[in-house]
Amino acid sequence: MGTYIVRRVIAMIMMLVALSIIVFLMFSALPTNPAALTCGKSCTPQVIAANAKRLGYDQPLYVQYGQFVKGIFVGRTYGSGTATFECPAPCLGYSFFRGEDVTTLIKERLPVTMVEAIGACILWLIIGTLVGILAALRRGRWEDRTAMGLSLIGYSFPTFFIGLILQYFVIFKLKLMDYPSYTPFSTDPVAWLKAFILPWITLALVYAAFYARLTRNQMLDTLGEDYIRTARSKGLSERTVIGKHALRAGLTPIVTAAGLDLAALLGGVVITEYIFNLPGLGQLALRSVIESDLPLITAVVLVAGAFVILANLIVDLLYAVIDPRVRLG
């Protein structure tokens, strides 16, 4: 187990390095000149050239990459002379467009996305598995058909549709709440919570639909297993048979799916954050693309990738804990 984790962590680091190189190369190949973003309207070719030199964009790519990596571990210094500014480690870059260092930007946004994603995940796991279990136990009856029909609808609608519909009805039509604006928890916890309610429901509905179907299929598979028949033949109550024997085996794959889905969301929930005006990573990513803010895009992609890679490791380790047949090595 120990060596397995070490091996996986090494593989994970290599994967991150590869990811960072690819992202770095991809954005360097873009026609946008990053130095042009530093001066806005006052740009002249001379200023751009001077800035490119000052910021190191005239250096070969591998040098630029080396500086980028160095920045992550020990920080880096941009410019020289009086225009010097420090970007302390972990420095993921500096957004000239915004005049802020990327690490700070991400640090501000990440908690919002985390609360959004984790809250939604809890909600969809509860709804999805409960509906799925119910559908499996009532297989073929109206409860099952209704649940599966609804989940097909939920699954088919894109996030922006569900989000906008919710927004329209809850805020504009029924006036159940004001249009929420994000407020930090420390300022006003109630307003903070309100800002998350609709994003949570939106995400949870989309994912719960998928999880309900997944859970139903898993449960049906499990209920047909020989060991369920054994459990019944022992004289166990139906509650124990389903609540312990079937759920334990049936819900295991749900853990994997949830871990990976959650990780993908942590990298930014672009559409939902945009609709509900949540200042999370997704919104930051979207803005950075619109603004061609290359250092910021690079950093956001890297952070998102790191979450997915890390989640894979965690899910694999968790699986070994849940399923005794899985031996890591």
Binding site: T230, L236, A249
Partner: protein, 344 residues
């Protein structure tokens, strides 16, 4: 006096999209304490459906079950779910074919045994655990104190089946239904498991229903045999009578498809030609008629139109066939004669 387990005219039907499956059509059996009844037949002949019906394991909403199953005089088919749960595992227990898939992969074997004990016995968890270790020792698992904390996948196939047997026996049931208990095991392990069942039966006086398609196991273990075909019992007799004087063409076919070590034979084994009928549209007369080579000896088209009853051909020997006893004896003698000639 009535037998410990009596099954009378048991009918089990499943509704499927293709039609109603008559999985079990008028099965009557009985078995007493300390005795072993073997049910033989090929796949889909209704052996496992019968055992499932006895245990009350079929979903009552999706299955139509008629007839009567009495355990120690108590009718099971009309018993409540709660009552059946009380009986399952306590008075009647079951051993399944594939011990790997029949044990829960996520729970330690000890836990699965303890759980079986705790449902039916008013004992503490630690007592139940002691009993579990005891049972594991009883069924011949070495190092039971350690094995009890292992998961099913850490045990060998034979060990796993021993665990299944220990689990079935943990509440001292009066009836054990063993559904192909040795099919998934190596031949050497098969013999061990059968020996184990026999010796435990001697010790506890359990009634055993052994479901198998292995006639070798039947000859070794059973006291009585019921041969099933297409959901019906087609022949029932004491094991000696069945092997020495079978009274039904299907049984003849089964026996001659058996390899024998005591005879030198240049021939290949003789399979029974044809396929068992679909249980959805059973032929109106004898279910074995399409594969039977002897129907021309029966006058008229009796075999096509009239369903033969399970008649007593000899004391305690029942067969479902329109041939007369005299005809059967004659045909059987002729069969043996050709068999001997071919062997020579």
């Amino acid at each position: 006096m009535s037998a410990f387990l009596e099954v009378e005219d048991l009918q089990v039907r499943f509704r499927t999209e293709d039609g109603v499956v008559n999985a079990c059509d008028g099965v009557s059996l009985d078995v007493d304490r300390g005795r072993t009844l073997a049910i033989v037949g090929e796949s889909g002949s209704g052996k496992s459906v019968t055992s499932g019906a006895i245990m009350g394991l079929h979903n009552r909403k999706r299955t139509e079950i008629h007839g009567s199953v009495r355990l120690d005089g108590e009718e099971l088919l009309t018993a409540s779910d709660a009552r059946l749960r009380e009986l399952r595992g306590k008075r009647m227990a079951m051993i399944f074919q594939d011990p790997l898939s029949s044990l829960h992969p996520f729970y330690k074997v000890g836990r699965q045994l303890v759980e079986a004990a705790l449902v039916h016995q008013d004992v503490s968890r630690s007592d139940a655990r002691r009993r579990a270790v005891d049972m594991l020792k009883r069924v011949g698992i070495p190092n039971a104190e350690h094995r009890v904390d292992e998961y099913p996948h850490q045990l060998s196939g034979g060990m796993r089946q021993r665990v299944m047997i220990a689990m079935a026996l943990i509440n001292d049931p009066d009836l054990i239904i063993a559904d192909e208990p040795t099919t998934a095991l190596d031949v050497t392990v098969q013999a061990q498991v059968i020996d184990l069942l026999k010796s435990l039966q001697g010790e506890f006086g359990t009634a055993i229903i052994l479901i198998t398609h292995d006639l070798g196991v039947v000859a070794e273990t059973a006291d009585d045999v019921a041969v099933m075909y297409a959901g019906r019992v087609v022949e029932r007799a004491a094991v000696r009578d069945l092997f020495h004087d079978p009274k039904m063409p299907y049984t003849w076919g089964l026996l001659s498809s058996l390899p024998r070590l005591d005879e030198v034979s240049a021939d290949r084994l003789k399979p029974i030609p044809g396929q068992p009928p679909s249980l959805i549209n059973l032929p109106p007369g004898c279910v074995f008629r399409p594969r039977c080579q002897y129907h021309q000896f029966v006058p008229g088209n009796l075999c096509d139109t009239v369903r033969p009853e399970l008649d007593e051909n000899a004391p305690g020997h029942y067969a479902r066939c329109h041939l007369t006893v005299a005809q059967k004896d004659e045909l059987a003698a002729a069969r043996l004669a050709t068999h001997a000639k071919e062997g020579a």
